[in-house]
Amino acid sequence: MEPLFALLVGALFAVSIYLFLSKHIIRVLMGVAILGNAVNLLIFTNGRLLREVPPVIPVDEATLQQAAANPLPQALILTAIVISFSFFAFLLVLGYRAFQELETDDTDEMRVAEPVDEEAPPLGY
């Protein structure tokens, strides 16, 4: 199963980066959303795959007796999903505000921090 997952992860990364490289913030933002999935699935597959058995210990046992999915990547991913969502929301709002203020969604025209005709720094002391 892992090779298929590798292919899917590769595709997720490729699509998200392709969206990143476009100059429209809304596409960049969709890229951010996909990138989160790509990374999570990457971590998930790194911990190896196992079908359908969640890592929950039965009531009358002290530890897992049968093989179950690897809990560690799941714990890492769970928090990562929530954090990447809150960052996605933040970037979304940031892009939204930037569009409102600058009236463009083209990153080439967003030059407030690094203006095209920036003055040379002063040479005095």
Binding site: G10, I25, I26, I34, R51
Partner: protein, 790 residues
């Protein structure tokens, strides 16, 4: 290592305490705070005085405590003749400077800040000279550079001050880095991090193949700090600082830190051809150039500054000359110089303060108006010129005694010394005689004697030069001999007194004086000649510094323009191209590409279906022509991932992913409908090809990485730990949840803090007043012009 001695620790910390309280005291008491503030360095002085008998007995006092034992780093100090003499000079002259400042800057609005800086410097300098560990030495060394920067730039309203401060910081700061590198190399050679242990390891140091490297790096630190040619230019510029700073830092103490370092290193590094060539050559060159440049100046402070440069050169030259008498001469000259040069600087300040000018050509006849200053100036000049009955005489006799051997090398340096000493003699007397004798000249202010606070310092130092000479046996026993012993690394005895050696040294002294008198009589002509020569050369290290700085600024602008063109897609392309290369290149170079995967035979049809759905979603996102398609297909790939989690034993992840995808789609829809943005791609085809190449390379890189990771057997010991202890220790059956809230609880705490902060950030972003335009100031911008309150 002896236990830390509380009193000494206090003595070392006291100046820093003084720096803290000085502004408050000055605010409360005005310039009268000087009486309270002077007690701090005075106490330090007395405290160090108590060590004299012990040190004179040939012992070294050590103390300190372990700091980072695993790295062999300790906070340790030690006192021998060398450091004790320095500590006494620093605290004694420091006390006088505190008095002097009270008069010189009386009524200055920033007096408290000035005192604070002075005390900070005093503490750093004391720390520097008593440091035993390399790290402490370096830290205090840099602290003196920084406090010097603050003091030179004290009057930061003027561009000249700012330039001088920056110049001093850059030159001495670079030297500090060189010093650190040198100390690290030395550590590497010897394995010790303490100066006191270095003395016994001289053989090892000198035999090491890294000896020359360590030596050059250390001298890089010493030469920049002590303004040796060609790094001398920062010192005269540092005269932009108020006179107490010039007197204290830039003649009596800080600039001698380099000389201190050279003297300290002498037992371990000395006695080699490299040492005895580099030091005399650079010292001698500095001596000559400094004294020649001094002749050219007409500003009292600049004349003194250049002679300080040449004096430092003389000290370095003597230390590196190699004989015991030369080292002794260096030591005696160092002490004498601190006294007479400190005094002369303060007197130059007095003249400036009282008459309103420092230009020697516009001064004259102040003798009757400023009698005490005149006497002190004469005494200091006699010492500087090396005439009896002052301490300078002793040091100069010893210099000639130490230099004079019957070979060409010595004769050369004797000549250099004669010229240098002669010219310094000229400057000393020019300052002591020209402003005071002759007929009275109209000065910008009507001159009268400086207040007590301002003449007590120079008078004390001038008297000190006299007493040290008269009581020379006593002085040698307690100060000079232990100091020379520390410099040479074996017990030495200094015997020279006011009774002159009959013979060559006396003759050389006489030649010097005759030469000096001749130059003095032709001073104006000599000044004009040197000025003409310098104008003919037209370039010096000082201008070089300006060119260096503006060149650096221009270069950095070009580099910034290149690496930060300001276009997001360029940054992104560079970043992801780098990611792709990092992922793929090592695998190709080391031939570690994963084996060609086989089709998973156990793949079930519903799993394949879900993965196919994910692919379809991805394809639809890229090719979406309108908002709705884009949002829906984004949701499709997200839900497909959630299903995958469900199928592979991660129900927690699956639920979370479902909720998050739902919310993402909702807020994306909310924002997109507001924005009326088109998600369609408007890139030209060429750009699309480049972007697709980069992103496919990245995707392939991650795929290959994942394939090769899953090829190797899985080591599950970490997961096994959590599985084994989840229920037995943490009482939880859902291992994922136990890891999140218990095993890695602190981590989760940080993460929920991040979630909360993003919530806050979003809220404040949305609340920002709409209609803001680039260049407009925010309402609470501190730079905005203040509006009248209604």
């Amino acid at each position: 290592m002896a236990a830390p001695d509380g009193m000494t620790i206090i003595a070392l910390g006291l100046p820093f305490i003084a720096a803290l309280v000085a502004p408050a005291l000055v605010r409360r008491l005005g310039h009268n705070a000087v009486w309270a503030l002077a007690l701090f360095p005075l106490f330090v002085f007395v405290r160090f005085l108590e060590f004299l008998p012990e040190i004179a007995g040939g012992e070294a006092v050590t103390g300190g405590f372990q700091w980072a034992p695993s790295y062999n780093v300790s906070f340790s100090w030690f006192l021998d003749g060398l450091s004790l003499t320095f500590a006494l000079l620093i605290s004694a002259i420091g006390t006088l400077i505190v008095f002097y400042t009270g008069g010189y800057l009386k009524g200055h609005a920033q007096l408290g800040r000035f005192y604070s800086f002075i005390f900070l410097f005093m503490g750093s300098m004391l720390g520097l000279v008593v440091s035993d560990s390399f790290l402490m030495l370096f830290v205090y060394w840099e602290l003196t550079s920084i406090t010097s920067f603050l003091l030179i730039g004290f009057d930061h309203g003027r561009e000249a001050s700012r330039r001088a401060a920056l110049q001093a910081l850059i030159v001495t700061g670079l030297g500090g880095l060189s010093l650190m590198a040198g100390l690290l190399v030395t550590w590497n050679i010897t394995g010790v991090t303490q100066l006191s242990l270095l003395v016994g390891l001289g053989e090892e140091v000198r035999a090491s193949p890294f000896y020359l490297m360590a030596l050059i790096l250390l001298l890089g630190g010493a030469f920049t700090k002590s303004a040796q040619f060609p790094f001398h230019f920062w010192l005269p510029n540092a005269m932009e600082a108020p006179t107490p700073v010039s007197a204290y830092l830039h003649s009596a103490t800080m600039v001698k830190a380099g000389v201190y370092l050279v003297m300290r290193m002498n037992p371990a590094f000395g006695d080699t051809v490299a040492w005895e060539t580099i030091l005399p050559v650079f010292g001698g060159a500095t001596l000559l150039i400094g004294s020649l440049l001094a002749i050219r100046q007409t500003d009292l402070k600049l004349m003194l500054a250049y002679t300080t440069v040449s004096s430092l050169g003389l000290m370095v030259m003597m230390t590196g000359f190699g004989s015991e008498h030369a080292a002794a001469a260096g030591v005696l000259y160092l002490v004498a110089h601190s006294m007479f040069k400190g005094a002369l600087f303060m007197l130059a300040g007095n003249i400036d303060h009282e008459s309103g000018t420092r230009d020697i050509t516009r001064l004259g006849g102040l003798r009757k108006l400023m009698p005490i200053s005149f006497l002190a100036a004469m005494a200091a000049a006699l010492s500087m010129g090396g005439l009896p009955p002052f301490f300078g005489f002793l040091s100069k006799e010893e210099i000639y005694y130490g230099l004079w051997h019957m070979d060409a090398w010595s004769v050369l340096f004797v000549l250099v010394a004669i010229v240098g000493n002669g010219l310094m003699f000229v400057i000393g007397f020019a300052i002591a005689i020209k402003p005071f004798l002759g007929k009275e000249v109209e000065t910008p202010k009507h001159a009268h004697e400086a207040p007590f606070l301002m003449w007590i310092g120079p008078a004390t130092l001038a008297t000190g030069g006299f007493l040290a000479a008269v009581l020379s046996p006593l002085f040698h026993r307690f100060v000079s001999s232990p100091m020379v012993s520390a410099v040479t690394g074996r017990p030495e005895e200094i015997t020279i007194s006011l009774l002159p050696h009959i013979g060559m040294p006396l003759l050389l002294s006489l030649i010097t004086i005759v030469f000096a008198v001749l130059v003095y009589l032709k001073l104006d002509a000599a000044r004009a000649a040197i000025a003409a020569t310098l104008a003919a050369i037209g370039w010096g290290p000082d201008r070089g510094f300006d060119q260096f700085i503006s060149g650096t600024v221009r270069l950095s602008r070009r580099v910034t323009k290149f690496v930060q063109p300001g276009q997001l897609d360029i940054y992104m392309t560079a970043t992801f191209a780098a990611v792709a290369i990092t992922l793929i290149a090592p695998m190709v170079i080391f031939d570690e590409l994963p084996a060609l995967p086989v089709w998973p035979a156990d793949a079930e049809i519903h799993e394949l279906a879900v993965i196919l759905i994910a692919f379809i979603g991805l394809g639809a996102v890229i090719s979406a022509k309108d908002r709705l398609t884009a949002i829906v297909s984004l949701g499709i790939q997200g839900f497909a991932v959630a299903l995958i989690f469900m199928l592979f034993g991660a129900p927690d992840l699956s639920f979370t992913q479902f909720m998050v995808e739902t919310l993402s789609v909702v807020i994306l829809a909310l924002v997109m409908t507001r924005l009326r943005l088109s998600p369609a791609d408007h890139r030209p085809t060429g750009q699309k090809i480049v972007d697709a190449t980069v992103s496919i390379a990245c995707g392939a890189g991650f795929m290959l990485y994942l394939l090769s990771v899953t090829e190797v057997p899985f080591r599950s010991y970490l997961s096994d730990f959590f599985i084994a202890y989840s229920k037995t220790i943490a009482h939880g059956a859902n291992i994922v949840n136990v890891i999140i809230v218990d095993f890695r609880g602190t981590d989760t705490l940080g993460e929920i803090a991040v979630v909360m902060v993003t919530g806050l950030a979003i809220l404040s972003l949305i609340r920002v007043r709409p209609g803001w335009k680039p260049g407009m100031l925010a309402e609470n911008d501190p730079d905005a012009p203040r509006q009248e309150k209604k």
